[in-house]
Amino acid sequence: MEIKDISWVDLFLGYTLLIIPLAIFWYYKSGLVLNTIISVLRMTIQLFLVGLYLKYLFELNNAMVNVGWVLIMIIISTITTIRKSELSFRMLALPVAIGSIIALFIVNIFFLAVILRLENIFDARYFIAITGLIMGNMMERNIIVLSSFYTNLERNSLEYNYAIASGANKREAVIPFMREALKLAFNPVIAKMTIMGLIALPGTMTGQILGGSSPEIAIKYQIVLMLMVFIASMITVVVTVAFANRKAFDKYDNIRAELFS
């Protein structure tokens, strides 16, 4: 089955409907009209650029280039994660990068080599696309966990100190903070899985069906990818926090003020 292309005119038609949300934002004086226009423009430019380099990467299909591209994605994701968490770049850059690399290594190997049994796991069509999908989700969870975990530790330092003074080691004393951060980050993912297919058709599945796959194949990809995203996100946050905690606390187990600078 051949996919129906969207002509440039039709694509432009898609933009015209934006007048509805923009009018509503304007009516309520929300101050979001300009932000929306800028976001749509950015999205358009970024996606066109992505389309260009993906076309180039797919044609080239060179393992080294693909791995290099994933490393660039990791660097960008690391910078974005720390900037959005509003924490010290110097202290967290390495932990976030290590967390991403370990999670991607485990999940990519498992998905591409064990489940899909690809002959070339660095095949751009799979390696780049799957890594991008997983990394975007991982980054979102990592931002929530890092910012919630360390902000709460700073805000409720009395609870942390009280645990330390009551005999807890650092690992035990941070458990309540990690528990809350994990709940905050993963409850939406769990909720999303609970209603998946009932209320919303997930993006991967929709994309595959539009691309000509049978619903059966699309469903299987969606399930496995959802699981991989969930697992990779969990690995990355746990590894990141484990490494970050080595730098975030001083030798007396007090949280460093520089972490928030």
């Binding site: 009395l158 100190n161 009551s166 005999g167 309540p176 007090n254």
Partner: protein, 208 residues
């Protein structure tokens, strides 16, 4: 030899000296109170004694050893800290009391429910308090639960921050009598309460 010695302790906060060249020797069994206005450095000093804050200058000597990162756990594991008020992420009262005994360090001294009950009764709390949630209890009840937790840890030094602030007078008398009757127990406290201060053998005054 003093049990704990604070030598030339100074702390600067926002370029202002909060504590300046403070010295104090604490012997085993001492009952010490620090009084003073809010912001005079009482809580900061307690944090230093607890090993939770490192002074800018000066040193802490515990059992003859200068406290540093490699032996700070010796100091921390000898002190029960009873803060004035603290939020703990547990729901039930019994879980609140037992939380420190889930830590590896304290598992071997986990008290029985009977041992907890003795203190619940002694501190004039209702026996049905276990069935309640932490969010449902009063500040005075919470303060007594903090004391029970601290005492069950069975450590030789108690550090208390305004221990009688939320207690009514009859309960206060019972608790003061209970804590001060043990001659071996070292008490270091920040307090404004004259009844409490009268029981202490050393009182330090902090001024802004």
């Amino acid at each position: 030899m003093s049990l704990l010695s604070l030598q030339n302790i100074s702390v600067v906060f926002n370029n202002k000296p909060v504590i300046r060249n403070f010295n104090m020797d604490i012997n085993s069994g001492d009952k010490i109170a620090i009084k003073g206005d809010s912001g005079s450095g009482k809580s900061t000093l307690l944090s230093i004694i607890l090993g939770l804050k490192i002074p800018d200058t000066g040193q802490l000597v515990f059992n003859g050893n200068t406290v540093n990162s490699s032996n700070i756990s010796d100091l921390r594991n000898s002190i029960s800290w009873l803060p004035q008020n603290v939020s703990i992420s547990v729901e039930g009262v019994f879980d609140f009391i037992m939380l420190p005994f889930s830590y590896k360090q304290n598992r071997s001294i986990r008290p029985t429910k009977e041992q907890v009950n003795v203190l619940i009764k002694k501190f004039r709390l209702d026996q049905d308090i276990y069935t309640r949630k932490m969010s449902e209890i009063s500040i005075g009840e919470k303060q007594r639960l903090l004391m029970i937790r601290g005492l069950l840890l069975n450590r030789p030094i108690l550090v208390l921050d305004e221990p009688t602030a939320s207690l009514d007078s009859s309960v206060k008398t019972v608790i003061i009598d209970f804590l001060f009757k043990d001659p071996g127990l070292t008490i270091i406290s920040a307090s404004h309460d004259q009844d409490w201060l009268d029981k202490c053998n050393k009182v330090f005054e902090f001024n802004k």
